[in-house]
């Protein structure tokens, strides 16, 4: 049992509607102190609305937000123990770095000497010790990022909200900032709530991830659970790469299914999901590219699912290389991860290849109407 005092943020049945559009639909969750919690979802899923309600810029139609045991409904943003790092950072261009960081302290009535000391301290912790007198326009993208976070953390908020702050950075810097954000979070030991549509950001940094769509949480879990044990079709399709097919269950025996896809392929799969599936159900099945083995000949393979294919395309990308193969009979295309050995260096389009994967690697979910 979680003790109430160890929870930094708790939301109960949050509901927010704009006219006839439900942005946040009955969401409940709780975040323990000092954890990195991400909300992952496609654009328009309601994650920004949820974050704005936590910050106080928007209010729920019903439900409760509890921070450190106190209800925050009706409390204006400047009175909440949360701070927000905005998507475009919103650093004040008319102030220098030190004034930007000092702004919040000044509002709390901290005296001048203490402000200077605290600003210097936090600048040192984000390794920008000498930048106090710099103008915002003189900073690089990554430095701005750190100042925006420092500006919030200097106020020692209970919860720090981050609204896709890495979106504007280039790829290299983004990869770097992911690691740095995670380190900052551990160093300051503050609860981070991070919203993003980029699954890699969420998986790399988070202790817990909530996958959100249509105003609801589809699954909440740690990154490994989301990746290896998705609980529904949306999570399976959204987190990580997958080969997907729609099909129909044609046979059920001893916790095993046979699924026939629309293109006529038949797959064997394990019935490991929580859902009760019976013969005739419309389902979606997912197979990860790295779960598929490839081989030049049919000999020696004894797996539940085997397909004869032809290579149509090779997408070489070092360790992330993939090949696209086409199944002979149905013409269905599959993504397969290329093994990390040089064995398949000579592979070229048009080669015959046998691909196989165990029934346990096929995830089956009832097809929803969405």
């Amino acid at each position: 049992m979680l003790n109430n005092k160890t929870l930094d943020l708790e939301c109960k049945n949050l509901y927010r509607r704009f006219d006839d559009f439900v942005a946040v639909n009955d969401i409940s969750f709780s975040i323990p102190k000092g954890s990195f919690f991400s909300i992952l979802g496609p654009s328009g899923c309601g994650k920004t609305t949820l974050l704005r309600m936590l910050a106080g810029f928007d209010n729920p139609n019903s439900g409760d937000i509890i921070i450190k045991g106190k209800s925050m409904v009706g409390v204006p943003p400047n009175k909440r123990p949360v701070n927000m790092v905005f998507q475009h950072l919103a650093l004040f261009p008319n102030m220098n770095v030190a004034q930007n960081i000092g702004y919040g302290l000044q509002r709390q009535g901290v005296n001048r000497v203490d402000i200077r000391r605290k600003v210097d301290e936090v600048l040192a912790r984000v390794s920008l010790a000498d930048s106090g007198n710099k103008k915002i326009s003189q900073l690089s993208g990554g430095q701005k990022q750190r100042i925006a976070i420092a500006r919030c953390l200097v106020l020692q908020p209970d919860v720090l909200l981050l609204d896709e702050p890495l979106g504007a950075l280039d790829l290299k810097l983004r990869e770097h900032m992911k690691v740095e954000l995670k380190q900052l979070q551990q160093e300051f030991d503050t609860t981070f709530v991070y919203i993003t549509h980029d699954q890699s950001e969420a998986l790399v940094m988070s202790d817990q991830v909530a996958v959100m769509n249509h105003g609801k949480f589809y699954q909440v879990g740690n990154p490994q659970q989301l990746y290896y044990q998705p609980q529904n079709a949306f999570v399976a399709g959204f987190v990580g790469d997958s080969n997907q097919w729609a099909g129909k269950i044609c046979e059920v025996t001893n916790n095993k299914f046979q699924v026939k896809t629309e293109s006529g392929l038949v797959f064997n799969c394990d019935a490991d999901s929580n859902e009760k599936l019976t013969q005739g159900d419309q389902v979606k099945i997912f197979v990860r590219p790295e779960a598929i083995d490839i081989s030049n000949s049919a000999s020696g393979i004894n797996q539940h699912n085997q397909l004869d294919t032809e290579v149509t395309n090779i997408l070489f990308d070092g360790a992330n290389s993939q090949i696209l193969v086409k199944e002979y009979k149905s013409g269905a295309e599959l993504q397969v991860k290329l093994p990390q050995t040089a064995n398949y260096m000579q592979l070229k389009a048009g080669d015959k290849l046998q691909v196989s994967f165990p029934a346990s690697q096929v995830k089956t979910f009832a097809q929803t109407t969405e």
Binding site: A55, G56, F57, P76, P77, N78, N83, M84, F86, Q87, H88, A90, F92, P93, N94, M95, Y103, G104, R107, Q108, R151, C152, L155
Partner: protein, 291 residues
């Protein structure tokens, strides 16, 4: 070499053609008349129809209290009108730029512009119809028993101020609205999020962003007000004592072009000095404010 020099020549020709009209306009309509005025203003009358160069017309301005008192009064009232216009226009612009969305925004902005479709003269007569002794407001006040007899609301300083602020609103609202629109909402939200209240967000976030527009709006309104002739004369009547009226009198009534020119030159010089001082105080540069 040949080609570069010929392309340079054609570039020069293009530049001359492009700059030509504006340069002609500036030289013929602004610089030449001002220089001529300066020349006339330096003519001192020694006996009928005999003139010599000297500063007597300028000395006259500083020795005759009526003249410089009128000027100080005009400048002070112009500054007050500018400040009042700013105080009224700022919330209006903020409301249009930040609170409204879509159609309502465009509609309200147009509503601010519509009065300026009508000429200043007609608008000023509109105020006279409302405010005079036998005017609309006076009649209503008597009808509802708020006043015993006719109330005269024209020919006071307050009326002049009202007319000046009304005439100037547009020139403050337009630059302010467009600048405030360019302020990212997230800056305002960040101002609140970090613990600021309405006043600190206004002072530390909104005003610094709007400062160039505030200063440029103030310069335009101040210069227009200072050089305004119609509004103070019509709404202030004989007691208006507006400096442009003195210039008019010298040129038209007294036919003293020399004195009138001296006043014109002084008006330009002193108002430029006031604007310069205003820029220095607010630490803005003229080119930055006007671009």
């Amino acid at each position: 070499m040949q080609r570069t020099s010929s392309s340079k020549a054609s570039l020069n020709l293009g530049l001359i053609l492009l700059l030509g009209p504006i340069l002609l306009w500036l030289i013929i309509l602004v610089i030449l008349p001002q220089l001529t005025m300066l020349n006339i203003s330096l003519q001192e009358r020694v006996s009928p129809r005999v003139y010599q160069y000297g500063f007597a017309n300028f000395v006259e301005f500083f020795t005759e209290p009526l003249y410089w008192n009128t000027f100080i009064r005009t400048a002070t009232m112009s500054i007050m009108a500018t400040i009042l216009t700013l105080i009224i226009a700022f919330p209006v612009s903020y409301y249009i730029a930040k609170m409204l969305r879509g159609r309502a925004k465009g509609l309200l902005f147009i509503l601010c512009l519509i009065p300026f479709w009508v000429s200043e003269l007609v608008r000023t007569y509109g105020w006279m119809i409302l405010l005079r002794e036998s005017g609309v407001i006076s009649t209503w006040l008597q009808y509802f028993n708020f006043a015993d007899g006719p109330v005269e609301m024209l020919y006071t300083d307050a009326t002049i101020m009202l007319g000046l602020v009304y005439t100037s609103m547009l020139f403050m609202v337009v630059p302010l609205t467009s600048t405030l629109e360019s302020l990212d909402d997230s800056h305002i939200e960040a101002g609140y999020d970090l613990g600021g209240n309405g006043w600190s967000v206004l002072w530390y976030v909104i005003i610094p962003h709007a400062k160039p527009a505030i200063v440029s709006g103030c310069i335009v309104v101040f210069m227009l007000t200072l050089g305004n002739y119609l509004t103070p004369i019509l709404l202030g009547g004989k007691s208006s004592l507006w400096f442009t009226e003195q210039i008019f009198t010298q040129f038209i009534t007294r036919f003293n072009w020399q004195q009138g020119s001296a006043f014109g030159v002084l008006l330009l010089t002193i108002s430029s000095l006031i604007v310069w001082a205003g820029l220095k105080i607010t630490r803005q540069s003229f080119t930055k404010v006007m671009s």
